[in-house]
């Protein structure tokens, strides 16, 4: 006969409550580890989004002042056309820049509302013949400070800075989350083993009267699952806050240029959330399966 859901939930609740301190510690550890794990992925998404404009071999961008004169603009174009070191360049006008801006800030329509295409700086996206960092830097320097030029941003320094930051933070988050996930798995295992030992007599009676192994195991496995899912919910809340208050803050228009486009889309956030929940379930399954198969023999 199948296990009654009421029985399973009641026993799971009893198990969780019996070791409430250990349960709380387990949930916190799972929550923090999943938060770190999810942050790693969101950070990765944000970095990819921030460096998107550097795709296609573009190594530096010449941002023009929106108020630059036609002559100033023509002088820059002429310099780009005549340089033997430049393979290609592409002019992105104010309207196109505005479209890019709308894409980047699709999740914050209030920002799009206050910005007009006229406020957007047009730019030249430049592909040099030689992508060597020093050559690119020398080329970029030729355009810095010219009349009408607002700023020249080289891909190398931007990407290097972002990548460097991403690598350090990502490595810390990834390794940290793995260590904590391992700790969380062990905590789930310990919690269930402790519950199994606390209920030794009950389990003995269950076996003697003919309860099936799965009937005995399921409440313990649900206990592990409940801890993991509650931990995942806390992690989800943390990830939501991380995205809302940290990542979005970086990509504010008055934020660092380096971090412009440092954003996580709704779809990316959803896939990170699903991944976090999946990891939580996997951790609980591993922890509780080891516990019940090793400590609840037939």
């Amino acid at each position: 006969m199948a296990i009654s859901p009421i029985y399973a939930l009641r026993e799971t609740g009893v198990n969780l409550w019996r070791n409430v301190l250990l349960t709380t510690a387990t949930i916190i550890t799972i929550g923090v580890s999943l938060l770190m794990f999810g942050s790693f992925f969101m950070f990765d998404y944000a970095v990819a989004n921030a460096t998107q404009r550097w795709e296609g071999g573009i190594e530096f961008v010449i941002w023009m002042n929106p108020e630059a004169s036609v002559e100033q603009d023509a002088a820059i174009q002429e310099a780009l056309n005549s340089s033997p070191q430049i393979q290609d360049h592409n002019y992105v006008d104010q309207l196109e820049t505005f479209e890019e801006f709308k894409e980047l800030f699709a999740d914050t329509p209030e920002m799009i509302e206050v910005v007009t295409p006229e406020a957007m700086p047009p730019s030249y996206r430049v592909v040099p013949l030689d992508p060597d960092a020093d050559v690119v830097e020398e080329l970029a320097n030729q355009f810095r400070g010219r009349p009408g030029v607002k700023e020249v941003v080289s891909a190398n320094e931007t990407i290097r800075a972002i990548q460097d930051l991403a690598d350090r933070v990502g490595l810390f988050l990834f390794l940290g989350s793995f260590v904590l996930l391992a700790a969380a798995t062990l905590l789930i295992l310990t919690n269930i083993v402790s519950a199994i030992r606390n209920r030794g007599r009950e389990i003995e009676i269950m076996k003697v009267v003919g309860a099936t192994n799965w009937f005995i195991r399921i409440p313990f496995m649900l206990e592990g699952l409940a801890q993991a899912v509650i931990g995942a919910l806390f992690a989800w809340g943390g990830l939501y806050a991380f995205r809302r208050f940290v990542i979005s803050e970086f990509s504010e228009p008055d934020g660092l240029e380096l971090l412009a486009g440092f954003e996580v889309s709704d779809n990316e956030f959803l896939s990170t959330s699903i991944l976090v929940l999946g990891i939580a379930i996997a951790v609980s399954v591993v922890g509780s399966l080891v516990a019940v198969t090793r400590y609840l023999d037939a």
Partner: protein
């Protein structure tokens, strides 16, 4: 109902708990297992409940060789076997009613069956008034009655009792034996390991005596020695 064919059980260190045991116990029989401590009585009972597996021989319960039974089928075998412990093994945080109901709940019996069978079995063991009491509020004899109720609530074919009067005074033991006798009269086979000479001599049922794992006596309407 129970049949042993040349059953041998050896523990670690060549410690033979049961040696070449062969016997038949028919349905509805009441059998005493007697012998000194370490003679193999408990092993005999544990083999019947499939808590142990013999090294040699076959054990048939209700026609099935339980030594060959798959692990997943063992719980279904045990649903046909009630088990009474010397130390009762009641759950202290559950009431009398909950202790008995537990045996039905964990094998997935529907709630309406539990509600019907628990009061009926408590009436049989004479504990209707103690339904809401916790084990620590009961005497030793009453606790053993709860243990019997739990073992019999699912109406098993066989009742195994491992020294059920071992922790009780003689007068209380008589009450417990009357209860087991009453259950036996319903057609349930009872196999009881005991050291209680008075009970065996008074009841005059089949006696199987073990000595260092060997069946040295199998006597109908026997006495302790």
């Amino acid at each position: 109902m129970i049949k042993l064919e040349n059953v041998t059980k050896v523990y670690k260190g060549d410690n033979v708990a049961l040696r070449d045991a062969t016997l038949d116990i028919v349905k509805g029989e009441f059998v005493f297992l007697v012998g000194a401590s370490g003679s193999g009585k408990s092993t005999f009972i544990r083999l019947l409940n499939r808590e142990e597996v013999p090294e040699h021989g076959k054990i048939f319960v209700a026609g099935k060789d339980i030594a060959q039974l798959g692990t997943w089928k063992v719980p279904y075998l045990r649903r046909n076997i009630g088990y009474i412990f010397q130390d009762f093994k009641l759950l202290p945080n559950k009431t009398v009613g909950e202790n008995v109901a537990f045996a039905l709940e964990v094998i997935g019996k529907p709630r309406h069956v539990v509600k019907k069978q628990v009061p009926a079995i408590l009436e049989l063991v004479g504990l209707t008034q103690k339904l809401e009491n916790f084990p620590h509020e009961l005497s030793g004899g009453e606790q053993q009655r709860v243990s019997i109720a739990r073992a019999f609530v699912n109406r098993p074919l066989i009742l195994l009792a491992d020294e059920p009067t071992g922790n009780l005074d003689p007068q209380t033991s008589v009450g417990i034996m009357r209860l087991l006798d009453r259950i036996n009269r319903t057609g349930t086979t009872v196999v009881m390991a005991t050291h209680d000479r008075g009970i065996v001599d008074t009841m005059r049922r089949r006696v199987i005596e073990l000595d260092r794992g060997v069946i040295v006596r199998d006597q109908a309407r026997g006495v302790y020695e």
